[in-house]
């Protein structure tokens, strides 16, 4: 029952987000600030994680495909498919649910606790539009982060493969180019857009509607991470079934 109530409340929040828009001059500043907080400040961690996980994926693939039965290019091919189809869009989004999601929930939750949201409301400002809408727009740049994750993941894989002595550079590059299906990129970016929307709205919902004090802000952040991750996993399944199934 509580679950259905929250789904209803979430839909109402999305509707309210589009009502009574904040002045464009102010909104522009908010979008730029949220772009910095959510996208630009995530570049470091995403680059680091993608590069090393790409390397680990390649080493594990190389170790489990040894022997003359497997072609040399297989490691490059499998690395590309794993990173483009699943690692970059989905696993990075779950990492972002922890980083950006917690940030959004705790910042909006703190505003709730310290009556800053009430202050916006009594001034006649649509606080949901003011707080949530710029985050949704800022995270439209999220596929750009995913592209970087894809590139660095494959680069990390290539370096680990070549310098670890598992395969040659030419075989790895041949693998990357073998049987490339451009629609897989479209599929990955469609997923990224959906996950970006989830990353902006689900944590905002948990922050905006939280009740209590500082301790509850922490609890709301944890809850927000769980529900954002669950939503990403469920939508990952649905989109994959719809587009590739």
């Amino acid at each position: 029952m509580n679950f259905l109530h929250n789904i209803g409340l979430y839909i109402i929040m999305l509707q309210k987000m589009l009502h009574k828009p904040t002045k464009w001059k102010v909104m522009k500043e908010l979008i730029l600030k949220d772009t910095e907080d959510t996208v630009v400040n995530s570049l470091g961690i995403i680059s680091f994680v993608s590069f090393f996980i790409g390397g680990v994926i390649t080493i594990q693939l190389a170790l489990s495909t040894t022997g003359s039965f497997y072609p040399d290019y297989l490691v490059g091919y499998a690395t590309r498919e794993t990173i483009i189809l699943e690692f970059a869009p989905t696993i990075i989004s779950i990492i972002m649910a922890g980083k950006v999601g917690s940030f959004i929930t705790s910042s909006i939750g703190s505003m709730r606790v310290t009556e800053q949201i009430d202050a916006l409301e009594v001034m006649g400002i649509n606080s949901i539009n003011y707080l949530v809408f710029p985050k949704v727009i800022a995270l439209l740049l999220y596929p750009f982060l995913i592209s970087i994750a894809m590139f660095l993941g494959i680069l990390g894989g290539m370096i680990a493969c070549v310098y670890g002595g598992y395969s040659t550079m030419s075989a790895f590059i041949e693998g990357i180019q073998t049987d490339f299906i451009p629609f897989h990129m479209t599929y990955a970016f469609i997923k990224s857009f959906v996950f970006a929307f989830i990353l902006a709205t689900v944590p905002s919902f948990h922050g905006y509607y939280m009740k209590g004090g500082a301790l509850e802000v922490g609890k709301a952040s944890t809850k927000s991470f769980i529900w954002t991750s669950v939503s990403i996993v469920v939508f990952n399944f649905l989109i994959t079934q719809m587009l590739l199934g």
Binding site: K23, K33, E115, E121, V122, M123, G124
Partner: protein, 253 residues
């Protein structure tokens, strides 16, 4: 002027406000007092539109809030200044940006003009030269002054203050009280203060409303409060020995 007629509000079928009727005059500082749980905050939040009341009328200068459309409500809200208990300053903005915020949201003034108005109100609350400080760098008293500056920068017709001197030392609390009273008189606005503080009652209470269990138990001025026979009011106001002695001295006079 603000008129309240038979205001009722319940939460989960539990009545919190049980039909309150009163009036708040223009140019005067009115105080709402009462014990914790008496319904003061809910009453103030109903006036501010943060809680929707169940029954009754809230009339701002002959305009009933319930019969207003969205645009009229927006217009009304932009004419209200609010000082919250915890100041509610925006953490991510410095003092200047906090005070400028209502101007940015509701006006299309050039930046220099907005800055002039900000500096004027900051001077009025004696905070010149603090423009670039962040709220976290300001003391409790300074934060309250910034909140007052933000509340009056847009020249409001109504000023609502929720326990404006809670958490402040007695000297700073009196400074804040007097500042609110002076601003109310200078700008001829309707000011309503929600307070626990007996010093505020004695210092600036031109009109006092005492709430008990969601009912308006007593109303009068700071002079009447010494003479009242109402047991609930005397129990609340004269709960400390100091005020018992003050009352005795006043009555002897």
């Amino acid at each position: 002027m603000i008129s309240i007629k038979n205001l009722k509000k319940s939460f989960n079928n539990k009545p919190v406000l049980k039909g309150i009727s009163c009036e708040f005059e223009k140019g005067k500082t009115s105080l709402i007092i009462g014990q914790t749980g008496s319904g003061k905050t809910v009453f103030l939040k109903c006036l501010l539109g943060l809680h929707k009341h169940d029954e009754g009328k809230i009339i701002f200068d002959d305009k009933d809030v319930q019969s207003m459309n969205e645009n009229q409500k927006m217009e009304l809200k932009s004419s209200i200044g609010t000082v919250f208990q915890g100041s509610a300053l925006f953490d991510s903005m410095n003092i200047e940006e906090n005070v400028m915020f209502p101007l940015k949201m509701f006006n299309d003034l050039p930046f220099d003009e907005m800055l002039d108005r900000v500096n004027l109100v900051l001077k009025r609350v004696e905070l010149e030269n603090s423009n670039k400080k962040m709220p976290s760098e300001a003391s409790g008293g300074m934060q309250k002054r910034v909140a007052i500056a933000r509340a009056i920068v847009n020249n409001p017709n109504y000023l609502f203050c929720d326990e404006p001197n809670s958490g402040l030392d007695p000297k700073t609390a009196i400074v804040i009280d007097n500042l609110i009273k002076e601003i109310t008189e200078e700008r001829n606005i309707t000011t309503i203060i929600n307070s626990h503080d007996m010093n505020s009652v004695m210092e600036i209470g031109e009109k006092i409303i005492f709430l008990k269990n969601g009912v308006l138990e007593w109303e009068g001025s700071k002079k009447n409060i010494f003479k009242t026979e109402n047991q609930a009011v005397t129990d609340f106001v004269y709960s400390s020995n100091l005020y018992k002695k003050v009352k005795q001295m006043y009555l002897k006079k």
